[in-house]
């Protein structure tokens, strides 16, 4: 008799709980359930109320990362380690620190993304996807689909960063294998190639179907062009549009000292955030965006002198940042854990500069831009700093370099570092 009542009761409670958990994400965001941050916030400087925890360390060249609904982490390694290019980090004892590391996928690369029951990962030429089980673990590591193949890789700017939308499309960066499309790459005074031939197969974003195997250039849509190299990109669901962070060209002073002194060259051109729609052209290699003059300026390789504006008008950036900071990660924050100002705003991982010499190097931090209705609603600010350690004179001496960003199911922000391989989790805990 008793049993007959208990079973339906238990079922009812379980169902109610399941529905509650499913429909109300804020049940996850109780800050008292978050793990404690590290004593020194893992060496990071953060706004008031935030804390940081190192959840994994020495993973390798941790480029981009993705966090599952179980708060496990997939990390794409720039260089595969012991035949493993993708790491799967799990927290079995649920103390917030990852205690189990396995891996698969014997290829170097940068991109990794979770969408609709699949893990997508990119090498420097291909995109693969792996079916996930109900715990977001890869069901069979040896059984994957080769979604995109044969993309160009000539070393320079070969990261095939990627993101998906809600309509079954995959967007892949194919970076230009050149600095500024000179006849002789990175050679002082060398002029630009007429009708830059690189743009036919690189220097843009290509759109592919997320579920179709063995697609290559002919199968994809040449979605946007004139983008030198994009490592950080994300889909903005408020705006239902792709946003990318372009790495602006290097070495204006080294290559054209008659137009640019070292001080100007250290801050120009802008690192640009673009909102991208089909058919857009951001103008590389013909123009760059000068954030001081607030204008598109002709590249010196194509007749520019630092002041001359371009004849043709190209896409203007959504926001312009100082030069050479190397934006490698972009994430629109949709969680509820952080204070309201962060909701729907953009976090950007700036990998840190190398070609500002003799000025000190800069960047090596995570920045934040507030957004409203899919547009920036305020100035950008530094959100998390201190990755590099003491003053960084050269990128090789930076202890950590922020590269990838991901959001956890509870709204924590995860940052990967491709120098030492540290994975950070940044949380907000009201005191």
């Amino acid at each position: 008799m008793k049993k007959k009542i208990i079973y339906p009761m238990a079922l009812l409670i379980a169902t109610a709980f399941a529905i509650f958990s499913f429909t109300n994400n804020s049940s996850y965001t109780k800050t008292d359930s978050l793990p404690k941050g590290d004593v020194d916030n893992a060496g990071l400087t953060l706004p008031q109320g935030f804390s940081a925890l190192i959840v994994a360390d020495n993973t390798g060249e941790a480029r981009h990362l993705a966090v599952t609904k179980e708060s496990d982490i997939y990390v794409k390694l720039g260089s595969a380690k012991d035949g493993k290019g993708i790491l799967y980090l799990q927290d079995e004892n649920k103390d917030g620190k990852m205690d189990k590391q396995t891996g698969f996928g014997n290829y170097d690369g940068t991109g990794i993304y979770l969408k609709d029951g699949y893990l997508y990962a990119s090498s420097n030429t291909d995109v693969y996807r792996y079916k996930l089980n109900d715990k977001d673990a890869v069901a069979d590591q040896n059984n994957f689909e080769n979604i995109v193949t044969g993309l160009i890789d000539r070393g320079q700017h070969n990261s095939k960063s990627m993101v998906l939308d809600n309509d079954g499309n995959l967007y892949v960066n194919i970076g230009a294998y050149s600095n500024s499309c000179q006849e002789n790459d990175r050679t002082p005074g060398s002029m630009g190639l007429k009708g830059c031939p690189i743009l036919d197969s690189a220097g843009g974003i290509w759109q592919f179907k997320a579920d179709k195997q063995n697609q290559t250039y002919g199968d994809g849509v040449h979605y946007a062009t004139g983008l030198r190299n994009v490592v950080g990109l994300d889909w903005n669901y408020q705006d239902n549009a792709l946003f990318v962070m372009q790495h602006g060209r290097d070495q204006l002073h080294d290559l054209f000292p008659k137009y640019y002194d070292t001080k100007t060259s250290a801050i120009l051109p802008a690192e640009c955030m673009y909102e991208i729609h089909k058919g857009d052209n951001a103008g590389w290699p013909y123009i760059y965006y000068d954030q001081l003059q607030k204008k598109q300026i002709s590249m010196p390789e194509y007749g520019g002198n630092g002041k001359k504006t371009a004849d043709q008008k190209y896409l203007d950036p959504t926001m312009a940042f100082p030069g050479h900071l190397a934006p490698n990660g972009l994430l629109f924050y949709t969680g509820d854990q952080f204070p309201a100002k962060y909701k729907n705003g953009a976090f950007i991982a700036f990998h840190g500069s190398w070609n500002r010499s003799p000025e000190p190097q800069a960047g090596y931090y995570v920045a934040f831009v507030p957004f409203k209705d899919g547009k920036p609603s305020g100035k950008w600010e530094i959100f998390a700093d201190g990755f590099a350690g003491k003053k960084t004179l050269s990128p090789g001496t930076a202890i950590h370099r922020p590269c990838g960003l991901a959001q956890g199911p509870d709204g924590s922000l995860y940052v990967s570092d491709d120098s030492k391989g540290t994975i950070y989790r940044i949380m907000y805990q009201k005191k």
Binding site: R186, P188, W354, S357, G396
Partner: protein, 146 residues
């Protein structure tokens, strides 16, 4: 022993002056601060004009992009291949399993003496201690390439 330490300590400010990198100050041992090293090598000026933006003030290069000039056989080994790199440029080089993807342009427009000076500077800086390269060395490699 104590004398060596005192000598080393005395030399640290000079090290800071030449190369303002904390890492290198830690790394450099006393051997590096020989009188020859402290006299300004003529190649330093050329290095600062053409090389420093990629290879960095400490010769450490940039991970994934520009190779380091410290402790590698490309710099410290045979003179001929090193001279050839400057004359021809190079692309996608792998050193100790790490690949560097930014291409280096040719510097063949520099004079033999300038190439000799900058290579000598590189071979004797950042903790490196390899033999000097002369303009005759550069001339002979250049002649064979034509």
């Amino acid at each position: 022993m104590n004398k060596i330490i005192v000598f080393g300590l005395l030399m640290i400010p000079f090290g800071l002056f030449i190369n303002n990198s904390p890492r290198n100050v830690e790394k450099q041992n006393i051997k590096i601060f020989t009188p020859v090293q402290n006299s300004k090598l003529p190649g330093e000026k050329i290095f600062k004009k053409y090389c420093v933006s990629c290879h960095q003030v400490d010769g450490g290069g940039v991970p994934r992009l520009n190779p380091p000039l410290i402790g590698t056989s490309y710099v410290l080994g045979d003179k001929k291949p090193l001279i050839e790199i400057l004359l021809n440029g190079m692309k996608n080089i792998t050193i100790e399993d790490k690949t560097y993807t930014n291409p280096m342009p040719s510097f063949k427009t520099l004079k033999d003496q300038e190439i000799a000076d900058v290579l000598t500077y590189v071979r004797k800086s950042f903790g490196n201690d390899a033999s000097a390269i002369t303009s005759a060395d550069v001339k002979s490699v250049r002649a064979k390439m034509k």
